[in-house]
Amino acid sequence: MKIGNTAIKATLMATVIFWSVLFTEEYSSSMFFWIIPSIIPIFLCCLLAIIFTVCPFFWFSEDSLGNSGIFKRYFPYYAIAVFGVCAFTIWKFNCEVFAIGFFSSAFFTLMQTWVWNSKNDANENL
């Protein structure tokens, strides 16, 4: 599993979603200067989320399952749980734009990370 590669792709995706949401609330050209520095914390968040919530499914599952089996067996419950946590937290923060940006980018990025991880390893096996 190429964690670094996946984390970089996830960071790009999360940055785009996060700033897209923030720009819809209030547009200012000075906000552009914050995009580059924001990549570092976003990268750290992505890396930690991938290592602690996605990778364990691939590391600790039976080898016989294969990536397709792991995806089909665990992804549905993971997706429902992550959606529940993100939706609940957004609601708890009274639907503030920052919370919407952060948790919606977390949700979509984690979902896509599963697809990348499963696909990557499937391609390696080809």
């Binding site: 897209s20 949401v21 720009f23 819809t24 609330e25 397709s68 995806f71 089909k72 067996r73 992804f75 549905p76 419950y77 997706a79 429902i80 959606f83 979902m111 896509q112 599963w114 697809v115 499963s118 696909k119 499937a122 391609n123 080809l126």
Partner: protein, 460 residues
Amino acid sequence: MKHTFNIIGAILFSTLFYKQDLGLNLSLFSLLTILILAANKKEAFYNKTVIVKALAFSITGMAVFLYKSNLAITANVVSFFILVGSISEHKASLYINWLNGCYTTTAAFFHRLYEQSDKTGNPSRKQRMDYIHRLKVIGIPLVVLIIFIGLYKNGNPMFNDLISKIDFDFINFQWVLFGLLGYYLFNNISSPIAVNPITTMDLSTENTLLQAKEVPVKKLENEKQLGTILMSLLNVLIAFFLITDVVYVLQQDVTNANELSHQVHSGVNALIVSIVFAIVIILYFFRANLNFYKDNATLKRLTYLWIALNVFLVVIIAFKNYQYIHSFGITYKRIGVNIYLLLTSIGLFTTLIKVYSIKNLWYLLRINMQTAFAVLIVASLFNWDRIITHYNLNYAKATDVEYLINLSDNNTLLLKSHADGNAFNSEDKNKVNGKYHDYLKALNANSWQEMQYDNIKIKE
């Protein structure tokens, strides 16, 4: 065609919900969802269970327009997931439908994305080229254009003025983003997905218990003996409890609220423990081959008797609750007790069927889930605040007006009519008038998306 439906759905989704409270929009969304599901999966709607679930979904959507209660909103959300899940696999159990519905709604897009690549192994070179080409065609000119606009702005003040005058305020980007969320939702539900292997396992699990491989007769005999003794003792115990309870009910003072409250609540607590134990013990003894043992008739009769005595316990609690309501009016807790008693009676009845017809645990789970869902849908169709207010003001011996004033706005118009009829003291009348004016203000501020039935009522 599918994309056209989804785009129309997304535009309507944003129009209905962007910066709006719930009201008529949820009712319209229910109809819109059914239309989009029917357009994408026409064949699914030939099935009766899917039609029933679609009806439940649209009725709860209508209930939100009529009363806008939290119960109606919850019932609408639950029935949405169940409807979407039943389209992915209509033969599955209700809880599997719910799971499939949750999964489809939240992540079907990513599931399909993975499945596409899983089937082909790798996206084809042509497909990749296509994406890269599109990205180039849109991205490169856009970036170059922005850079050149920045350069020209500095070179010519007139050009700079013109560019600065371009105002994109007419486009609401949040609205567009909300529409994208709507598109994601409709894209997800347009091809519902089943979670596997749990759906396949559910489909292959029958309701009838099958006889396991040979078990020594001695072991079955011992188990039957233990069950018979335990059931006999429990029957004696519950019978004794019921006799003392009936005597107590006949002698008690119905004017003492604290006494009645204690009686109902302690009775319900006893009932909860008793029913849970009853079902666990019954499930334990009738889990496998004892069902097929030829000398189990006494144990079965004792089990039926115990279920019947538990039903009698339910009746006594219901009677106490009725006395409580008759004297001190209806409250949400007292309605909750009645609903709990109803569900308990149904649970006991289904346990009896399980033993009589030799069904398995899955049967109990399936039938009880269906019952709970039906109760939720039916309960969401009533304006409970209005019912509570109407009963307490007209039939209860004592009324807690403060409690009625603190209920939701669903009873405001009724309270106002009673306040105008001089039914309250001046302090309560002021509070009711305050509540009425606040409600009118809120109703008048409603947009067409947030409209409720009361909006029409006040216009009349």
